[in-house]
């Protein structure tokens, strides 16, 4: 009798433990969330990502997406360490300029067939690079001319310049000087300084492209060589030197870039569409507009840089299906329009109508490459950053040289030396090909 009682008690105890254990396990499973991480190089995109993540998480309660935004250069540094060591996030947002070396190194997963089809059907052609079957285009940098309407009105100028000749004339009229003749407000803000490749990139867009050149050109062999040791390269540097020392349109001693435009310290600026977002946030009272970039009449090349920021899924992601699903989710017009209107980065989807965005921010309407006939791209190679950064350093030194004014030989020497360095970098990388 006693033994039977003991048996019953033991059985009841075991059942209780098993049931309790099962309950705990079930609870654990229901609460276990799948966490994904996303790294961005643009902190201004945080509200867009946060909105999309919030919506996605409410639709998928078992998924949690952690966003980390960094300064662009910091992100590049973190990627350099994290991706090769397999400690990176699930998703990253970057462009071919940075991502190509990681593609070559096998750090990304290929776009699933469904997303590849979606990309090919729905994105602008200048946002798609054949070599990149890894990233889903998300936003692009479309260059435009920003011009201050108040200053143009004060100078009795009819509107934005259509040619480089007009641009130079207008900029001279718009620049302001102190009693000593020093520039206190630039007519056109050039990119003259700052580490990284930006200085070379801006010369490429403002100077080299409109004269029919490129920084890196492809050889018949499929390899590369410099594309600026020619009239285009020399004209580009001459343009900068003339703007600084002949026409005194800009100076090292004044503020530059979007900050200068927002503070009304410059009348004109060539920049990507994000400046619209910057102006909305920092200078809502400045009366400005945008236009397509002017052309050099003799060449008539409407030029711009086609650079696309894509979302990639890393090779080490354990939840790549969810990551791709989120990437498709964020391509929803709701987030694209939110980004376009509030941040200014131009969405890559052509199958979405942005009319409601243009109504609120008409300056964005001109920031498209639909009328451009010379959109150039960074070439897919591992040494792109090195080529442009080292060229930028040489340019910055050249921009301080007043002796280059009306000095075609001096300009040719600077360009030839820089071009030789470009070719040497290509040779070291095994990518050089004769013209």
């Amino acid at each position: 009798m006693k033994r039977e009682m003991m048996k019953k008690r033991m059985t009841a105890l075991i059942i209780t433990f098993v049931a309790g254990g099962l309950l705990l396990v079930t609870e654990g499973i229901s609460q276990a969330k799948i966490t994904l991480t996303l790294w961005s190089g643009f902190s201004e995109l945080t509200p867009v990502y946060e909105l999309a993540i919030k919506d996605y998480e409410s639709l998928h309660p078992n998924v949690s997406i952690k966003l980390a935004t960094f300064d662009l250069r910091d992100q590049e540094r973190k990627l350099a360490v994290a991706l090769p060591s397999g400690t990176g996030p699930d998703m990253i947002e970057t462009c071919l300029f940075t991502s190509y070396k990681y593609m070559e190194g096998g750090c990304f997963k290929k776009l699933p067939a469904e997303l590849l089809k979606f990309r090919n059907e729905s994105c602008f052609s200048y946002n798609i690079r054949e070599v990149d079957d890894y990233g889903m285009p998300w936003f692009g940098n479309v260059d435009g001319l920003y011009w201050n309407k108040t200053m143009f009105m004060e100078a009795a100028l009819p509107g934005p310049p259509k040619t480089y000749k007009e641009q130079t004339e207008y900029a001279q009229k718009l620049a302001k000087y102190d009693a000593k003749g020093e520039v206190i407000r630039s007519g056109y803000s050039l990119r003259l300084s700052g580490a990284g490749s930006g200085v070379a990139e801006k010369l490429w867009i403002i100077g080299v492209m409109p004269y029919g050149g490129r920084i890196v050109a492809q050889a018949p062999s499929g390899k590369y060589h410099n594309g600026y040791n020619n009239e285009a390269g020399r004209n580009a540097l001459k343009l900068y030197i003339d703007y600084l020392y002949k026409y005194k349109i800009d100076s090292f001693k004044v503020k530059h870039d979007a900050e200068a435009f927002a503070l009304e310290r410059t009348a004109m600026l060539m920049r990507e569409a994000w400046v619209v977002g910057h102006m909305k946030q920092h200078a809502p009272d400045v009366d400005y507009d945008t236009s397509i970039l002017p052309v050099v009449s003799e060449y008539n090349l409407r030029s711009g840089l086609g650079q696309t920021y894509c979302l990639y899924v890393t090779k080490t992601s354990k939840n790549s299906d969810i990551a791709w699903d989120f990437i498709k989710f964020i391509e929803n017009p709701k987030y694209l329009k939110h980004m376009f209107l509030n941040v200014g980065w131009v969405p890559t989807r052509k199958d979405v109508s942005y009319e409601d965005v243009y109504k609120e921010a008409p300056q964005l309407r001109n920031l498209t490459y639909k009328d451009y006939n010379n959109v150039q791209f960074y070439d897919p190679m591992v040494c792109t950053d090195e080529i442009y950064t080292k060229l930028a350093e040489r340019l910055m030194a050249a921009y301080t040289r007043k002796d280059l004014l009306d000095n075609p030989k001096g300009i040719a020497k600077v360009i030839a030396e820089a071009a030789e360095e470009t070719d040497n970098i290509l040779k070291e990388a095994g990518l050089y090909g004769e013209k």
């Binding site: 540094r77 350099a80 190194g105 000593k180 300084s193 001693k253 503020k255 503070l263 310290r265 301080t400």
Partner: protein, 301 residues
């Protein structure tokens, strides 16, 4: 035989076991975080590695040969020497002057002044550099405002390549001044007053007091500051990196110092082997300079 036995029994004594137990973790940690990485860096300097590709072919001295021919490396060496030398000489010179003023017998609130001078040293480089970047702003910066008061036109402190390195030197001097001032003050306080009293009785003037008493007795502190400043200034990176960011930043080559160049080669261009060779040369340079400083300022008790 007896000697061996004595050593063996000594090693088994509780004091020795305790000492070994205490030392082993420290040596192990030091080996893991210092010796192995330094050894790994030297090893990597003889290889070509792009950080992504697992293949690291051995290339012998090629990285070193390329380095000594690399124009940017030469610029970085020159800038680093200029930055280190000028900032050490200027900051130690001013700090010694300030310490002498603060240690005058009639000086009131000297500790408060020392605290004020020391404050910049405890602030991290990054926020300091960001604040100074604003102070160097060509349109709204305080430096252009101040020089404007004496009739000098505004300058592109960071943007102008001819000024940018000196702008960073000013920041480095300002930050390091406090530490040097406090250490010199400590040194001055430790010099017995009797030495000065005796010398004054013998008719020594202020300059002789400084030359024959103050300066020789400050030698250990001066040596310490020289060595520390040399190591810190040769390894400087954060302010240079911050000052070059963005379109209002300094041109990279104008302020290129060794660690910045190393960073660019390693983490920007992914030439890790090349950067490792550069790091090894940096280690050798700092080592040689430190030895030279020790020899030239040898403290004889």
């Amino acid at each position: 035989m007896l000697e061996e036995l004595r050593i063996s029994s000594k090693l088994k004594s509780p004091q020795y076991i305790f000492a070994i137990c205490v030392l082993v973790p420290v040596i192990a940690i030091y080996t893991i975080i210092r010796i192995i990485p330094i050894g790994g860096t030297i090893f990597l300097g003889f290889h070509k590695w792009d950080l992504i590709n697992p293949v690291k072919p051995f290339i012998g001295l090629r990285n070193y040969i390329r380095l000594v021919q690399d124009e940017l490396f030469i610029i970085a060496i020159r800038n680093t020497f200029v930055l280190a030398l000028l900032s050490i000489v200027i900051s130690l010179g001013i700090a010694l002057g300030l310490a002498l003023i603060l240690n005058r017998r009639k000086m009131r609130f000297a500790p408060a002044y020392e605290l004020i001078y020391f404050l910049p040293f405890i602030i991290s480089w990054v926020p300091l550099a960001v604040i100074w970047k604003w102070m160097y702003d060509p349109t709204y910066g305080i430096f252009n405002y101040l020089i404007g008061l004496v009739g000098i036109g505004s300058q592109g402190w960071l943007v102008n390549p001819k000024l940018s390195l000196y702008s960073i030197i000013i920041l480095v001097v300002w930050r390091n001044l406090g530490l040097a001032t406090v250490l010199f003050s400590v040194g001055l306080k430790n010099i017995p007053a009797e030495y000065f009293d005796a010398a004054i009785v013998d008719g020594a003037g202020s300059f002789k007091l400084f030359r024959h008493i103050t300066f020789p007795l400050l030698k250990p502190i001066t040596l310490y500051l020289f060595v520390m400043s040399t190591i810190l200034n040769f390894a400087i990176f954060s302010p240079v990196y911050v000052m070059t960011i963005g379109s209002q930043g300094a041109p990279g080559n104008a302020v290129r110092v060794l660690v910045y160049d190393l960073y660019e080669n390693g983490f920007r261009y992914l030439h890790m082997g090349y950067a490792a060779a550069e790091a090894t040369l940096l280690l050798l340079i700092v080592l040689v300079l430190t030895l030279v400083e020790f020899r030239s300022m040898r403290y004889k008790g």
